[in-house]
């Protein structure tokens, strides 16, 4: 599919590789805005998309699990300045990563 027609949430069907065959993005990855920007900067115009890709949806989260992760991060950030916008962004990145690893 042409890069112009790709939207976020689509599922990559084949590895995207550099000219030497080294994989840049693995098959099975859900395409994000960051991927699209990276593909553009690499000059890649077309990628294979799985036709029956599930619609993008945030997996429902167990509120207790979320609260547990937040409590852990609150302690980890407790001696820092979590109200700073950059720290808030880092906190959110850590939370997102912790959730995706569950």
């Amino acid at each position: 599919m042409r890069l112009d027609d790709i939207t976020t949430g689509m599922l990559l069907a084949k590895d995207v590789c550099d000219p030497n065959g080294n994989p840049l993005i693995r098959a099975g990855t859900i395409v994000t805005g960051r991927h699209i920007r990276a593909l553009k900067s690499w000059g890649i115009g077309e990628i294979a998309i799985q036709s029956d890709a599930p619609p993008p949806a945030m997996a429902p989260r167990d509120p207790a699990e979320l609260a547990e992760l937040k409590a852990m991060l609150d302690v980890q950030f407790s001696l820092s300045n979590p109200e700073h916008p950059a720290m808030r962004a880092l906190y959110d990145i850590c939370l997102e990563r912790a959730l995706s690893q569950r």
Partner: protein, 285 residues
Amino acid sequence: MSASEIPKQQILERLGELPSLPSVYHRAREAMDDPNGSVETLAQIIGSDPAMASRLLRVANSALYGLPAKVDSVWRALTIIGMGETRSLILSTAVVTAFRDMPLGAVSMRSFWEHSIACGIAARTLARRMSLDNPERLYLVGLLHDIGRLCLFILEPAAMSTVLQAHRERQGQLHEIERQIFSTDHAEIGAALLARWSIPPAYCTAAQAHHDVMSPESTTVETALTHVADIIVNSLRIGTSGSRWVPVLDDTAWRMTRLAPSDLPDIVETTIGTTRDVTSAFLEQ
């Protein structure tokens, strides 16, 4: 905890007990400083130490440089990477190798270098994002910024476990507790060790001041980027140099990066994506 149980001078005097950089590093450095030196001579010097040569090739072929094809000769690696980068590659390989097999106790050596390498990569990524000249130099600054902690772990293991325990109990940031016990901290000790190794002053300054960013006038860009990289890597918990809780982000340092919080996800992704491969290249057989 009584203040200044171990005087700073006592630690500084013992820096000579730490591993020294291998002779191949000093010979390579002389060749690089020689205006008539050539890449061929340098490659021969490195080739005379097979362990150094194979380690250097592994690192040269790692994600750190992203070379388009695998290189299998030292001469070719040095030619592609260029003289400026070669200096940093030889020094970092020599430092990591010198300390690799030392027992640390509380923190694993792998974890320590993983933290340091990640800080180097994060600092270099920040520098590239800011379009600074020669962003590669920031990698070495980040890599060496916590070297003083390695000195403290090796020279004062018992005192350092007291420091780590107090930090775990959230009595304060690690470097603040170090100051209570040692009347100095890893930043100052690290800068002293780097100066002893005749590393250029910019690196010593960044190591010394990475917890003490002052005003934009008195803070170098190296110091500011090392500070921000350290905060990013501590938040993500990529390895550790002992610190368990995320330090305070200095707003002056953050503003010097001219970045927006929305730039952070890409920087984090690059840092995580590169660090593991580079750590393996430095430490694994």
